[in-house]
């Protein structure tokens, strides 16, 4: 074999390895999810029941929704730890309005939550405040506001029409959440992979300086990411509220930012910024919920299932780190 031939072979081999690596990192979360599903189908009693999936779906959806926005923010190299509080504030304002049957108040809750997203975005992009700090600040304000305006704890409303709409499965089988998530995922997938905005987010996450010099309006792009994150947090908060016809301002959305970050990291979006892996995040959210469910069905205490969760996150991080070099 002469030299050029050998070089050609080497090149082809490295191209193959690159292709394999690229699709592996892209779909690692999906593969892991499949593996866990298979394991459970084989080894967990009563796993193959519609109720199980229904449960996983309703639980995982709130994390997946918040994760969609988080994915965008993390793709810019930022982080949004105000999502849990945003859920709480949105759901609180909405619940208070629904007590008096005022649907305009629900719209108001949307606007308020978005405004806080905008604030965090502007603080981060224009005043160069670390995202961790700016979203921490808005997290405290929103949680404080939620608890303040609710007066004494849980706000319960009575609106049978609304409740029935959300708890009645569509076509007798599919939870409403399923469709909310489906629409959101499709929309976000298109935004990320087919629009200039999605391109700009990825470019900024890759190299902020190059993005600026390429004429991308980097401030606007990053700010919008925080607004979108707030929007999905609001949707998730409202879904939590309508299931129980009430909001506990101190509880709704607590620790949600951690689950959303975990789902994003497992999904393969680089924590230092880069390609937002929308489908990965959704798989990540379902994987997290599946682990909790699995532990539950095997009578493993919740405390231990948290540790399994942590283990999965670590494995994901190491895996993505190794492949990204």
């Amino acid at each position: 074999m002469d030299r050029t031939e050998a070089a050609g072979l080497l090149e082809r081999r490295s191209a193959l390895r690159h292709l394999l690596g690229a699709s592996l990192t892209k779909h690692a979360a999906a593969l892991a999810l499949l593996a866990f599903l298979l394991f459970n189908c084989l080894f967990t009693n009563n796993f193959l029941a519609w109720e199980t999936f229904y449960n996983i779906f309703t639980q995982a959806t709130k994390v997946a929704l918040v994760g969609l926005g988080m994915t965008l923010v993390i793709a810019t190299g930022g982080i949004d730890i105000s999502v849990g509080s945003a859920m709480g504030l949105g759901a609180t304002i909405a619940a208070i309005s629904l007590v008096s049957g005022n649907f305009a108040g629900v719209a108001l809750s949307f606007v308020v939550v978005l405004a806080f997203g905008l604030l965090a975005g502007i603080l981060t992009s224009r005043f160069s405040i670390l995202p961790l700090v700016s979203t921490l600040a808005s997290a405290y304000i929103m949680r404080g506001l939620a608890r303040g305006i609710s007066g004494r704890g849980t706000v319960t409303y009575n609106n049978p029409g609304l409740t029935n709409f959300f708890i009645t499965p569509i076509a007798g089988r599919f939870p409403v959440q399923f469709f909310v998530l489906l629409i959101s995922v499709v929309a976000m997938y298109l935004v990320v992979n087919r629009t200039k905005f999605g391109f700009d987010v990825e470019a900024y996450g890759n190299n902020p300086v190059a993005a600026r010099i390429s004429g991308i309006n980097t401030r606007r792009v990053t700010t919008i990411c925080y607004v979108i994150s707030a929007m999905f947090a609001w949707v998730s908060g409202i879904l939590v509220m309508v299931m129980v016809s009430s909001t506990d301002p101190a509880r709704v959305g607590v620790d949600m930012e951690l689950d959303a970050i975990a789902a994003t990291v497992i999904g393969g979006t680089p924590i230092t910024g880069g390609h937002p892996n929308i489908l990965g995040t959704v798989c990540g959210a379902f994987l997290l919920q599946l682990i909790i469910m699995m532990a539950n069905m095997h009578n493993i205490p919740y405390a231990y299932s948290l540790m399994i969760k942590a283990g999965i996150i670590l494995v994901a991080l190491v895996f993505h780190h190794l492949w990204q070099r």
Binding site: A15, H18, R194, F199, A203, N206, V209, R212
Partner: protein
């Protein structure tokens, strides 16, 4: 005892296939001040990093004090006796001067750190050099010059016999430079050798004994300063012709429309009162040494930095509210000198990197026309002969020259009226350089105004219709048509240098 404290033999180092240091040999005598000169990418910092243990050479020898050395890290070099004073010093601002000098080597007594002994030792170092420094004060209270001196004190306390100074004077004012030179004299008389990196010719002639000149990773030789004129030094640093036969036919664009007018822009201390205009289809060169303000002017025009004063007009229209986003929307393109830091999106595909600036022209309601995206990138990969396994290959896997072509494609795809090329051939092999120079001619034919910045004079001579010579942030000369040759450019820089040296 050996005459040389340091001897470098046949040093080689490549980064991703590009030779950064190519068979470099030189030696430094005990107690001499040895200047190391060269333009951007000449390999100075790589040589320094190998000497000080940060990089490992691919091959070649570093012989220090008669022994062949291979330091595994900077600490190893320091303990052997080689200290390096970087532009950004690695010291701890909150700690006292003494603590910084003896960091990691605090004297201990039975009860703990022996503060008294430490301060006394530091004080005696300070007294030896006759610099007024209170060793108990925190480092943060001192300016850059004093901090450098404190670092030098640390080097002395480590019994260093060789101190490398990487552009120590770049951020000092005249009196501070004088103070530093006083210290260097004392080091010299103590038998400590200094490798001195600077871009200021007058400093080399005032203080250095010998100079080693690097160019394109190769050594252009070591000379005694007394036997080398400024002109000769410049010639060796920026003059030598690469064997490129390509030469663009010059055109006189003076009569054509003005794409860009720059009026009296200043950004002190980098740029002082610079004015020029650029015509459609003209290739205008900015010549001058590193630090003469050439990159800074480009950054101001493109809106990366805001000038203190002055106007920029594009197509006869004054530009306000200047940011790179505005610049791009006005049809400006800017290929920066730092490909890696400011150019590529490393983890994105070749295709994405090519279309990054043209995307806004291929979207409807924000959605990208995927077919056009593919067509455009395929087009440029073919036209510029970009070597890549496919359009979806990650751009970071490409060679430097091909990455540069990707970035040029990115700007070409947006159909610019004006393109600024800052060192577009840096770190690229000869073949790649040639291809990029041919592209410059192509820009001109398409009526694009080209502002071309290069350290390599021959490159300017081959490609430019007109050249503006810069020195210390000022435009000091303009050459037109056949007057453009290496000698006249160098003469313009050197003459003004000598004038400058007198004040």
């Amino acid at each position: 005892m050996e005459e040389n404290i340091l001897e470098i033999r046949n040093l080689n180092k490549a980064f991703e296939g590009v030779m950064a240091v190519d068979h470099v040999s030189f030696s430094v005598r005990r107690g001499e001040v040895h200047a190391l000169m060269g333009e951007n990418g000449a390999g100075k910092s790589t040589v320094i990093k190998i000497i000080s243990g940060i990089h490992k050479a691919d091959s070649g020898e570093v012989i220090y004090d008669g022994k062949t050395c291979s330091f595994s890290n900077a600490l190893g070099a320091q303990h052997a006796g080689i200290s390096t004073v970087y532009q950004e010093l690695n010291m701890i601002p909150a700690l006292s001067v003494s603590e910084n000098i003896f960091l990691g080597r605090y004297p201990f007594a039975a009860w703990g750190i022996d503060w008294k002994a430490m301060h006394a030792a530091a004080q005696s170092l300070v007294s030896d050099l006759e610099v007024g420094i209170d060793v108990r004060k925190p480092l943060a209270e001192f300016g850059t010059a004093k901090k450098q001196i404190i670092y030098i004190l640390r080097a002395i306390s480590l019994k260093s016999k060789l101190i490398v100074m990487d552009e120590p004077t770049s951020s000092l004012d005249t009196s501070e430079v004088k103070m530093l030179f006083g210290i260097i004299d004392k080091l010299k008389s103590a038998g400590i050798a200094v490798i001195f990196i600077t871009h200021r010719l007058d400093e080399v002639y005032r203080r250095c004994d010998r100079v080693t000149i690097l160019k394109d990773g190769r050594s252009e030789g070591t000379y005694a300063i007394s036997e080398l004129s400024q002109y000769e030094l410049l010639e060796k640093m920026v003059g030598r012709n690469l064997a490129l036969e390509y030469k663009r036919t010059r055109r006189d664009a003076k009569g054509d429309d003005r794409v860009l007018e720059v009026k009296n822009i200043s950004r002190v201390p980098y740029v002082r009162n610079v004015s020029f205009e650029l015509h459609r289809g003209e290739v205008l060169g900015l010549a001058g040494l590193l630090g003469s303000g050439r990159t800074e002017i480009a950054r101001i025009i493109f809106g990366c930095d805001i000038p203190d004063s002055g106007e920029i007009m594009v197509n006869g229209k004054r530009l306000d509210l200047h940011t790179p986003t505005d610049a791009v929307s006005q049809g400006m393109a800017f290929c920066t000198e730092n490909r890696r830091e400011e150019g590529i999106f490393p983890n994105m595909s070749v295709q994405s990197n090519i279309v990054a600036c043209a995307l806004s022209k291929m979207t409807t309601l924000g959605f990208i026309d995927d077919r056009r995206r593919r067509e455009v990138s395929r087009d440029y990969i073919r036209k510029l002969a970009i070597k890549t396994s496919s359009a979806s290959q990650l751009v970071k896997k490409l060679s430097g020259g091909n990455q540069q072509k990707v970035i040029l494609s990115r700007w070409l795809a947006m159909n610019p009226e004006l393109i600024i090329l800052d060192e577009p051939t840096r770190g690229i092999d000869v073949g790649g350089k040639r291809e990029i120079e041919i592209l410059i001619g192509e820009f001109s034919r398409r009526g694009i105004g080209v502002l071309f910045i290069s350290s390599e004079l021959s490159e300017l001579v081959r490609n430019c219709d007109r050249v503006i010579v810069l020195r210390d942030g000022r435009a000091v000369g303009e050459l037109l048509g056949d007057d453009i040759d290496e000698k006249s450019i160098m003469r313009t820089i050197a003459n003004n240098r000598q004038l400058n040296g007198q004040n």
